[in-house]
C-alpha cells in the first residue's frame, strides 16, 4: 500500500476501507485518525465552514471506546471511523439545529435511528454539518447561520441542502458523512463537490429522528469518498425500524457484495428528456464520455423516455411544500426552541415564526399552506399526487426495458455564492434531474464523472429500481474502478 506510515501522515485524506486496514493492523490508533481530522478542520474550516457544531469531546470519548473494541479484536467495518452528520438528524445531548434559528438551542433527548445504529457499530461523531434551513435549498445559502463554501472554489456554493456534509467530505474534514435527500439534497451537492452521494429507495433507511421536511420524500443516505464506502455505510443504516412505519420490512443485502462484478450486458437507459437544449456544455460532454466508458465496460445504452419529466419540478414543489407546511407547524414557540413573546397567543405564534424562520422556509410554508387550502386542494395537492403517480409509472415503464438509468446529476457545476440566491425559480431548477427520483421513490447515486475547464467537479447520476441499490452500486463501482475522477482532491 502506498500509504505513508506513522501518526503524522494525512489520515484524514483516506477512505473508510483504507483506514480499516490501518486500524485493524494497529498501525494507527483511532485517536490518531480523530486528531488528524480535527487538525484538518482547524486548518480549513474557517474557509469551508462545513459544520454547525463540532463535537471534539464526544469524538474523543467515542474514540477511546472504539479503540478498546479494536484492541479486543472486535473490529467491525465502521469502528473508529470519523463521520459528519447532517444537522437535521437528532443526536441525544448534542444540539440539532437544522441550521435554523428556531432550533438554534435545541438539544434532543433522543437519538435518531441511523446515528444510534452507527453508534452501535462504533463510529466517531466529528460534528454536525451545515445545511439549508430545514433542508430547503440547493446551496446552503439558506442556512440560518452561514453559507458553506465549495472546497474546489471557495467563491462557489457546495450545493445543497446537504452541502455541509459534501463539503466536509470533499475537504477531508471527515472520512464520510450522512446527508438527507428530499429532491436531490444528497446527490446534487455530492455532484458539485466531487464526492459520492447515494439516496436509497424510499423506505430503505429509517427516518426516525430525521427532522422532517417532506415526509413522503425524505430519505437519509451516505456521502463518501468512493463507492465502496457508500456500500459500507448502507450496510449499517439500512433496514426496517419499528419506530418508522414507512420503513420497509425488506431484507437488507450486503451491499459490498455487489461490487466488483462486471456490468457486461447491463442495460443502461438514457432518458431523452434529461439531455435538453441549454444544458451546460461541459456537463453534457462529460456525461456522453461517461456513457461511452460504461459501454466499453460492457453496458448497453438504450434511449428511454420519462414523458412526465416536465411536470416533476412543479409536482415536487406542491407536494414537498404541502407536507412541509404541516411538518413545520410544531415550531410555534410553545414547547421548545426559539420563542418571541407577544401580547397574546396569536401574536406570540406570529412573532416566533416570523423571526425564527428564514425567508425560503417561510416561502415554502406559505406555498404549501396555499396548496392545501380548501378550494385549492383539488387543483394543487390532489392534482400533484396524481401526477406523481404518472411519474412513478414512467419509471416502472422505463425499468421494464433497462436495469439502470444514467443522467447528469445537476444541470450545471457549482455556481457562485449569491448567483441564484435572489431567484428561487432558478435555484429550484438545480434539482431538475434529481427530483423525479424522489417522487418515484427509487434509489439514485451521484458519482464524479469529470471536471470543467476551471476545475469544478461534474457528477453522473445512476438511477435504479425500487430496493435495487445493488445494481447502481455495482455499475458505479465498475465506472469508478475504470476512472480516476474520484482520486482528485481540491487544493485549499
Amino acid at each position: 500500500m502506498a500509504i505513508p506510515k506513522g501518526p503524522q501522515m494525512e489520515l484524514h485524506t483516506l477512505g473508510i476501507g483504507e483506514l480499516r486496514t490501518l486500524l485493524d493492523r494497529k498501525e494507527v490508533a483511532v485517536k490518531d485518525v480523530v486528531d488528524s481530522v480535527y487538525r484538518r478542520i482547524d486548518a480549513v474550516e474557517d474557509r469551508v465552514r462545513a459544520f454547525v457544531t463540532l463535537t471534539r469531546e464526544r469524538a474523543l470519548e467515542m474514540a477511546s471506546e472504539a479503540q478498546k473494541r479494536i484492541d479486543n479484536n472486535l473490529s467491525t467495518p465502521l469502528l473508529g471511523i470519523p463521520l459528519g452528520i447532517k444537522d437535521n438528524m437528532c443526536t441525544r445531548g448534542i444540539r440539532t439545529t437544522c441550521s435554523s434559528k428556531i432550533l438554534a438551542q435545541f438539544i434532543p433527548p433522543y437519538e435518531s435511528t441511523v446515528t444510534s445504529r452507527l453508534a452501535e457499530k462504533g463510529y466517531i461523531l466529528i460534528g454536525k454539518t451545515n445545511l439549508d434551513e430545514f433542508a430547503m435549498g440547493s446551496s446552503t445559502e439558506n442556512s440560518g447561520f452561514h453559507t458553506t463554501r465549495n472546497p474546489w472554489d471557495l467563491e462557489r456554493i457546495p450545493g445543497g441542502s446537504s452541502g455541509g456534509s459534501t463539503a466536509a467530505v470533499a475537504a477531508d474534514e471527515c472520512i464520510a458523512a450522512l446527508g438527507s435527500d428530499t429532491g436531490g439534497s444528497i446527490r446534487q451537492p455530492a455532484s458539485l463537490c466531487g464526492v459520492v452521494g447515494l439516496k436509497p429507495t424510499y423506505g430503505r433507511v429509517s427516518r426516525y429522528g430525521l427532522v422532517a421536511f417532506a415526509s413522503s420524500l425524505d430519505q437519509i443516505g451516505p456521502i463518501t469518498k468512493n463507492v465502496k464506502d457508500a456500500a459500507l455505510l448502507m450496510n449499517v443504516i439500512a433496514g426496517h425500524d419499528p419506530c418508522d412505519s414507512t420503513s420497509a420490512p425488506v431484507d437488507v443485502p450486503d451491499f459490498t457484495a455487489a461490487l466488483g462484478h462486471d456490468i457486461k450486458g447491463l442495460r443502461i437507459g438514457v432518458p431523452k428528456e434529461y439531455f435538453i437544449k441549454g444544458m451546460d456544455e461541459e456537463v453534457e460532454r462529460s456525461l456522453r464520455e461517461a456513457l461511452k466508458q460504461l459501454e466499453s465496460l460492457g453496458g448497453v445504452p438504450l434511449e428511454v423516455s420519462l414523458p412526465h419529466t416536465d411536470y416533476a419540478v412543479a409536482t415536487y414543489y406542491l407536494l414537498a411544500t404541502s407536507e412541509a407546511s404541516s411538518n413545520l407547524a410544531r415550531y410555534d414557540g410553545v414547547k421548545y426552541g426559539f420563542r418571541q413573546t407577544g401580547k397574546d397567543l396569536l401574536e406570540m405564534y406570529k412573532n416566533t415564526r416570523a423571526k425564527g424562520f428564514g425567508s425560503e422556509v417561510k416561502r415554502r410554508i406559505m406555498l404549501g399552506t396555499y396548496a392545501l387550502s380548501s378550494g385549492y386542494y383539488d387543483a394543487y395537492y390532489k392534482k400533484a399526487q396524481q401526477v406523481r403517480t404518472l411519474i412513478k409509472r414512467d419509471f416502472e415503464e422505463a425499468f421494464s426495458r433497462v436495469d439502470v438509468m444514467v443522467t447528469p446529476t445537476a444541470p450545471t457545476p457549482a455556481f457562485k455564492v449569491g448567483e441564484k440566491a435572489d431567484d428561487p425559480l432558478q435555484m429550484y431548477l438545480s434539482d431538475i434531474f434529481t427530483i423525479s427520483v424522489n417522487l418515484a421513490g427509487v434509489p439514485g447515486i451521484s458519482i464524479p464523472c469529470g471536471f470543467t475547464h476551471n476545475g469544478l467537479p461534474i457528477g453522473m447520476q445512476l438511477i435504479g429500481r425500487h430496493f435495487d441499490e445493488e445494481t447502481i452500486l455495482r455499475a458505479a463501482f465498475a465506472y469508478e474502478q475504470a476512472t480516476e475522477w474520484h482520486k482528485r482532491k481540491p487544493r485549499i
Binding site: 440539532t96 430525521l210 415526509s215 412505519s245 407547524a329 410553545v334 397567543l345 405564534y349
Partner: protein, 483 residues
Amino acid sequence: MHYEAVIGLEVHAQMLTESKIFCGCSTKFGSEPNTQTCPVCIGMPGVLPVLNRKALEFAIKTGLAMNCRISPYSRFARKNYFYPDLPKGYQISQYELPICEHGSLDILVEGETRRIGITRIHMEEDAGKNIHEGGGNFSFVDLNRTGVPLMEIVSEPDMRTPREASEYMKKLRAILRYLGVCDGNMEQGSLRCDANVSVRPAGQKEFGTRAEVKNINSFKFVEKALEYEIKRQIRLLEEGGKVIQETRLWDSSRGITESMRGKEEAHDYRYFPEPDLVPIMVEQEWIDMLKASLPELPDTRRERLVSQYDLPEHDADLLTSERPLADWYEEAAASYSLSISGIAQYKTVSNWVTGELARLLNEENRAIEECPLKPSQLAGLLNLIDDGTISGKIAKSVFEEMYRTGRNAEDIVKEKGLVQISDSGAIEKAIDEIIARNPKEVERFRTGDEKLISFFVGQVMKSTRGKANPQMVNEILKKKLAG
C-alpha cells in the same frame, strides 16, 4: 306553526387502551401533569407515530357492534391547526377513508324502536389540556392526554327530539361499555358529545340551517342543551329572524348556548393524507375473528331477558343498560331458581334489583361493580319471603341492613327477631286490642267507610312492629270487623 328538530350527534370516545395511539406512553387519567409523555406525543422534531394495534382493534369492534362496514383499506389524515395543547400543530385523524362506515344503532323511545344511522367511526388522537391557573400572564399545558386514542362516532341527522338524542347517547354508552372499549364517563371527558341541531316547519323536507353545540359535558345536559337550542332556533324563526351556521357552546351553569365562532371564523383544517403512517389494511380474517369475539350486546341481551325470564320490556331495558347490572341480575335469578322447588318469579328478582338495590346504590353514587352484596344473598332473602318467614315489608329493611353490613338475610332476621308472626292466636289478640281501642273507627267502618281497613291494618302492623303476616291480618280483621 309547528316545528320539527333535526339532530345529529358527533361523539368522541376515549378508548380504554393501556398505551397511547401512536407511542408507548400510559393513558392513565389523573397523573401529575406531563409525566406521561415522550418525544413522540409531545411532537419533538423528527419523531414518528406508530399505530397502536389495540386502538385499531377497539375501533373495529365498535364498528361491528354498530353494524358498520369495516373498510379493508383506510388511512390517517392530518388536521392542521395551531393551539398550545396540540404539540405537532396538527391532529392525526381520519378524513376521507375512515375505518368504519354505514352503520346503525336502535333506540327505544316510548315503546317504539327507532333506527339511527351511523355515518362513520374514525380513529384519532386526543389533544392535551390548557390550564389557566395562577392568575399571571401565562397558562400551563398538560400533555398527558395528548395521543390518547379516540373514536369519533358520527350519527346521521336521524334524531327528532332531545329525548331521542339522550336515548341514543345511553345506548351508545352501553355498547361501548359492553365492549370494554370506553368507560363512558362524560364528567371526566372520556365520552364527549357535540350536537348538530336545526329546526324546520313540520312537513318541510329540506333541513334548516344548523348550529353545532359543543361542550355538553354531562348526561343530564344532553336533553337540556338540545331543548334550549331548539327553542332558541324556533323563537328566532318565529320572530322573523334566521338561524346562522355557527358553533355554540353549552353553558351548564346558565343553562344556555352561546355563540363561539361563526362560519367565517371556522378553521380551514387543510386535511391531507398522513405521510408518516402507511395505509391501514385490515384482513377479512381478522374482522371475522373480532366479530366472533364480540360479547352479547344490549339489544340481544334485552330480548333474551324478555323471553328467558318473562320480563316486561321496560325491566329488561333497565337491566341491560349496564353489562355488570345484567350480569348481577342473571346471577341472582339463577341462584334464586336453584334454591326453590317451584317456578321462580323472575319479575320479583327484577323488582328488587331495579328497585331497592338501584335505590341504595344511587344514594351512594355507587356502580353495580361496587355493590357490597352478592347476587346469591338476594336469593336468600327472597327464600325467606317465599316461605313466610318474613313479610315483604320487613324484607325491605332486612335488605337495607344486608347492604350496609354485607351479612346474610337469615342471620339478620334471626338476630333481630324479625320472624313474621303467623300464629293466628297472637294476631287475633293484637286485633282485638286495636278494635277495643278504636270504637269510633269501628262504627264508621261498619256503616260503610270501608277505606278504613287500611287504618286498622296499619295499627296492627304497628303494634306487632311490622312482623304480623299481612295476609292473615287482612283476613282476620275483615272477619272481626264484620262483627
